[in-house]
């Protein structure tokens, strides 16, 4: 994927919709594409993943699976498809547990390290405000 393709993949995520094009391009510069074969796993330890196409199902680590909180149900079987972001809350709330997810079919994703993501957002307050606003809206809607 070239820079513009990565940028388009990021821009397809609703959370990035209000970001200025220049900011999306800066994020895309730091993003790296990855193709997951069915059964292949990714984690949100250090990265945010945007799904470009395919289907990825959350399959948390054993430690998380034992966590009997309200979010446990979300952690099993939640499905991410094109335009969904995995691990984004960890950018602003680093204490959020990481998760692991499995591709159920061949999937293309674009990854951004948490550090890179925070760097770009700190560089550009307007981008940060736009993302925070979008995040707040999505959180309030309770999208899962």
């Amino acid at each position: 994927m070239d820079l513009l393709e990565r940028a388009s993949a990021l821009a397809a995520c609703r959370l990035f919709a209000d970001l200025a094009p220049a900011v999306v391009i800066r994020l895309a510069e730091r993003a790296r594409p990855r193709t997951l074969e069915p059964g292949e796993r990714l984690t949100t330890d250090d990265d945010v993943w945007i799904v470009v196409d395919g289907q990825i199902v959350i399959a948390s680590t054993a430690a998380v699976a034992m966590d009997a909180t309200a979010s446990t149900t979300r952690r099993h079987g939640g499905t991410a498809t094109a335009g969904h972001a995995l691990g984004l809350v960890r950018v602003i709330a680093p204490g959020t547990p990481a998760l692991s997810a499995l591709a159920v079919k061949r999937s293309n994703v674009v990854g951004l390290s948490l550090d890179d993501m925070r760097d770009v957002l700190e560089e550009d307050p307007a981008a940060l405000a736009a993302l925070a606003d979008a995040l707040a809206r999505v959180l309030l809607e309770g999208t899962s």
């Binding site: 070239d2 820079l3 513009l4 388009s8 609703r14 959370l15 200025a20 094009p21 220049a22 900011v23 391009i25 800066r26 895309a28 510069e29 730091r30 250090d46 799904v51 959350i58 909180t69 309200a70 979010s71 979300r74 952690r75 939640g78 991410a80 335009g83 969904h84 972001a85 995995l86 691990g87 984004l88 809350v89 602003i92 204490g95 959020t96 390290s113 948490l114 550090d115 890179d116 760097d119 957002l121 700190e122 560089e123 550009d124 307050p125 307007a126 940060l128 405000a129 993302l131 925070a132 606003d133 995040l135 707040a136 809206r137 999505v138 959180l139 309030l140 309770g142 999208t143 899962s144």
Partner: protein
Amino acid sequence: MNRKAFALGVAMVLLCNLVAVSLRSYAEATFLKSYGPTRLPWLLISSAGGFAFATFAYDAITRRAKTSIVDVALLVILFIVAAASPSLLRAGTPPVVLVVAVTATSQVAGLALWNRVAASVGGRDARRMLPRAGAAVTLGGAIAGLGAAPLVLRVGATVLPYVGAAGTIAVLFLVFAQEAALAAHGAPGATAPAGASDALSPVNRTLLRALIAVAILEGIVATVIDLQFVSTLKSKFTGDSLAAAVTLFYGGTNAIIFLLQVAAVPHILVTRSIPTTAAIHPLFAIVLYAVFIAAPSFVAIAATRTADQVFRLATSRTSQELELSPLPPNPRARWKVLLRGGVWPSGALLAAFVLLAIGPPAMKSPDKLAAAGVAVAVIWFAVAQRAARRFQAALAAPLKIRAHRAENLQGLDLETLERWSALAGSDDLRTSALANAALARARVPVANLADHLRHDEPAVRAALFSQLVLAPAPELRNELRAAVMIEDDDRALALGLAAVAFSADANATLASDTKDATGLATSGARTSTTSMSDRSLEQAIARGRSRAGLSAAVESSVRAAECALRSGTTDAADLAAEVERLLATDPPFAIGLLRRRGRDLDAAVIARVLTTAATTSRAGALLAIARIGPPSTLSILGDALVAGELPAHAAIETLGGPGADHLGANLHRFTPVARTVIARALAGAPTAASLVGALISDEDPDVAHAALRTALALARGGTLLPAAPIAGANTKALEALLAHLDARDAAAPWSATARHELDLATRRCVARLLWAAAVEAAAAGRDPATLAATARHLTDGREADRKRALDVVQEHQAGRAEILAVIERWLQPAIPTADTADTLLALSLYDPWLAELGGGEHAALEPRLAVLRKPALFASVSGPALAELATHATQRIVTGELFALGAAGGSMFIVMEGSLSATRPDAPSRAIVAGGVVGELAVLTHAPRAATVAAEGAATVLELDRETFAAASRRAPELVFGLAATLAGWLSPERPDILG
């Protein structure tokens, strides 16, 4: 650091090496006396083979038995071997057996004891103290060598094993004492963090593989050098003089190593990166060996061997010591022994067997042998560099820092350029905007556009003409005019005409009599008096005129282009009116027109036009003011920036070189807050590097801080920043941090709030310094990402992370010892001083607000500051920004309901005293005590109140309304981050894993 164990360990390894050198000198001298030159390779094979065998045996035994017991047993064996050597020789034992026994036991004992010294010191202390322990080892060797030579000449070489045996007894006593000290006061260098595993991570395994290769290559080179040296030595000395020469050589070598280890190595290890340190040994070996090839002599080979031995211990071993530091303690200790005692001698053994196989011809052509040695040394150098890079990666890995390789956006291939250009002309606005942003970021060389100006797709042509409007390219003017002359798409033609106007020579003008002519015919009639260039300009504009009646956009462009190109013929009032019209319809054209014809207008007229347009066509006016606004109009832009107007931000984010120069010359006309906003907005303006350069030297710390952050963003995107401001920013950041540290030392009389603010401000200074170092690294062509990420770990991380982060800084910054020294000082506790007045004065130069706070000038505000700092939301905001919030906040006493569920609200509240209770349906009520925040959701999202909040008794709160918060967050974006984090925490039970 366990000082007692370290001191005892130092004495222990000093004596152990004294024993080892005495015994080795005795064994080698005996061997050389007993055998002819053809057996020399056997000396190397026996010593290397014995060492390797003993090391692997030691490793196998220590994996089954307790290491401390094995070490004692090893020393007992060494004592027996030493004491029995003369008798064994007299009884007919072959000298080669003696060489094997002595070399193996003494060297393995040295390695085992070294691990005990390393156990007594950890972290950055290891960088400083272990070279000193190494110096003690060397001193032992120097004493043994230099002391033994006169002893041998007077008493005979037989005295040496007895000296060794006596020394071994002393070492045994020291081993017991040091073990007791380690048990009593801890072993920081051998203690793994709780829960740590001995398993090697993939990055550690990669590092280890590289270190094994380095050790093998180093052993090969050392053996080749050794053979040539020993052979030359044997040809020059005989009898006891040979033994004396051997001991003197060892003594002299150790003396040099000692001096280096005391004087230079600790400094190198705490100031230079490992790639530098690890390069010293192979480079010296290569250079000196090359000298030997050019002029073979005893002096040359002796110098080569001396350098090899000196730097092996002084730099290669210390580099290896540090390169092993990312490994967990147990594998680290094990591999330290194996690399030095097993792998290195294996390399030596391999070389010795090869030399043996070659036989006498090897020694008959010393230059060819040396050339082979140099070739291997070059490979060794390359592999050592690779190992050093892998060490850097392994060091940063636990901090989750990854190197970032910036994509090369300087030279897009034509296919990509065409695709992006096509997308830039897409009807889908988002796609088009992204493509244009990508093209702007990629900074496609203008010349590359030339081939595409006649592209088949009109959308592509329009996008390319648009690029040339924003960045006029006079060198393309002929291609551009030719393309416009045949342009048949109205949108592309309108943009093409603008590009034609802006790319024309400053002196190029249209003939006034062509205004209403039919273009080509008129131009043709003028061929005798106009140049080809003028003709093509006329023809391009004529193309526009021919289509003007069919398209309003083309008509507008033709009119503006004619206005721009008819210097001196349009009256000022018409020109001003045209500018005003274009500011509303086509701001870039208005700016181009003003740039071209501005000299025909009074500055006062331009100011009036822009001021008027600021109310009627604000976006265009702000765009123009940012690029060419006279001084009297800059306040309009400044106010708009401070107010957070998006068009003002857009005006800055799209600045090009000339606009940046214009603002750079007028920065002093903006307030510090406006300059901060400008600095932040420039993160999206890669061609405005000169303005960023000016801002990073700003006297206001917040401005400089923001500008450095932006400089880093630009540097990561590949923008080259001017060198002088970067160096200046480094110096200033360093001085600012020093001023803060001096203030910390003298801050005892300060209030607790002021001291806390000082601590936070100092952290910001550390981050600023590292950002400056990162920008400098980028300017030098290195990846700045690691340094930038390290700033976060140093200022926010845990203690262990901070120390590791400091090591990462050392590995990645450009040899600036002063940066490391000042950061290390920051990590150490303050050293109290009483020099308050002077330090306040010095601090006021870099952080006037903090100096005032320290001096008690904001005492009335301190209670509010203290309360605001409690919630995570405000924890990382700069002091002045927090003070502004505190000043604008309203203090209220609440006795009943503060707000009700579902009500509209635009304020958040921070509890100063007392407590509040938040009640939501179907949820237990939540108490909010002093420092707690309520109502933040409304400020971020305009959402209705999510709970009913009331005071329990009476509570004092600080109220912050949305406007105040928004204004503060423009100055301190950390506030938005904090608010988003607070929000995420508030919603934690429903925190989703998938968003979108």
